[in-house]
Point group: C2
Chain length 243, copies 2
DNA sequence: TCCAGCTTCGTGCCATGCCGATTTCCCCCT
DNA sequence: AGGGGGAAATCGGCATGGCACGAAGCTGGA
């Protein structure tokens, strides 16, 4: 779990720049740490030693501890009293629960987007979709993946409900790490792409019920895909028989 | 914003008791502070001076600052860089957004409860409902209010989805303070009670779609009631003309 | 040889001190 | 008299040190 000893003090202009724009140190540490966890640099379940991270991040223990507290509130790490912090594990049960909630939130966001988004917003979204499709035709998985995520986040943004966006962002961040492990299988990929075609069409028609339905279905299938890649039964969570 | 100078060190057995069961100081402070904010002891928008609270809670600044960080992550307080913390204001726009999300989450929870709750669970819920109705007939508003909240929380619990419960609890806590200011008007009260009758009936029938629908409607009406009590138009959020 | 108790070491938690930023108030200038 | 600028008080942010809890290693007895 060795991390590149990046110096965070450099990212804060100590004397230059206006009072706007620079963030307090614990905030910087929190962001950096969140990225490290979400990107999987810190493996799940591993104990995090304060002093070690202090040396690597070149900060004192106080801002680091404060960062741990907010990450614990976000559910990314778990703090055991008097025994330090471990990066939070994501069991299959929690993953299923989380995806179910994400599905409802995003479906709701789709509904709202149909009502509140401007024509320009939808046009931009459609353009993103077209670019994503281009990547799909070239089988550029990574670019597809990122654009896919951007589209989902954009839909939530277009809903115009900040609370909804914050809730969704929280859950999405926790799921992101799990999704990084390639769990997209070619035969399912086509299905996901078809969903997206339907989704964009429904949005452009501003058909709220249809948008809700297709997003709900799309994300439910997302859980099926994840469960299959984990060799689990999507319903009972029992280990799947492997041949 | 003077708060009773409760001594938190007492709540932590310094030498007695086993190692299990005592929480670290910042956790205790966080809970206490959360209660203080939710119950309205700390008025919204007021700046919180670290030193002042340190004296009143009899703790040092470090655990207090850590508590602020997690409460900020929960959205209960807002931290302005180098300018301290203020308890988060809840504008009408955010209140509407929050209630909309709560409505969807609770409606979803109702669906799940229809599937996952045991017969005993539903019987207990029904008993709570009966007690609530007894309070209603006697016009005991406070007891009714508390039981009402308990029922809603219980439904979310019965859904068996911990993520859903956590998200809902977060939002519910932030709304609670606003709801405390009596915004129940007698003529609307009867309507809310009728909703609850329908709700319990749908749950006992394990009719998921009906449960979803009635909860959704009930909470949407809850927003209408709140907007009216704030003299705002529920849709446009424009100030309502008062005669 | 194995278990129990103690000791030591590692580690996290909390208090305090110093530094920088912000705000406020007073004085001076217009 | 009113407005602007500067200085002091105030408050929050970060670093460090002391303290307490938990875990592992060691030693002595059964």
């Amino acid at each position: 779990m060795t991390v590149a000893p990046t110096d965070l003090t450099m990212s804060r202009p100590v004397d230059a720049g206006g009072p706007l724009g620079w963030r307090s140190l614990h905030e910087t540490v929190t962001s950096r740490l969140r990225d490290l966890i979400v990107e999987g640099q810190l493996p799940e379940g591993s104990r995090i030693i304060e002093r070690e991270l202090c040396d690597q991040l070149q900060v004192s223990r106080t801002p680091l501890r404060e960062a741990f507290k907010v990450l614990a509130a976000e559910g990314l790490v778990e703090i055991l009293p008097n025994r330090g912090a471990v990066v939070g594990r994501l069991g299959p049960r929690e993953a299923k629960a989380m995806l179910a909630v994400i599905a409802r939130l995003e479906a709701f966001a789709g509904e709202l987007a149909c009502v509140h988004a401007t024509d320009a917003d939808l046009a931009a979204l459609s353009a993103m979709h077209d670019r994503m499709m281009a990547h799909y035709r070239r089988r550029e998985r990574l670019e597809y993946f990122h654009l896919n995520q951007d589209i989902h986040l954009e839909i939530v943004r277009l809903a115009g409900n900040d609370i909804l966006r914050a809730m969704h962002a929280r859950l999405h961040a926790r799921m992101k790490r799990s999704r990084f492990r390639g769990n997209d299988i070619p035969e399912n990929w086509a299905r996901a792409v078809a969903d997206h075609e339907e989704l964009i069409a429904a949005l452009l028609r501003r058909d709220a019920p249809a948008t809700n339905a297709v997003l709900q279905r799309h994300l439910d299938e997302s859980w099926i895909r994840l469960a299959n890649s984990l060799r689990l039964d999507p319903d009972t969570l029992a280990p799947l028989a492997t041949e």
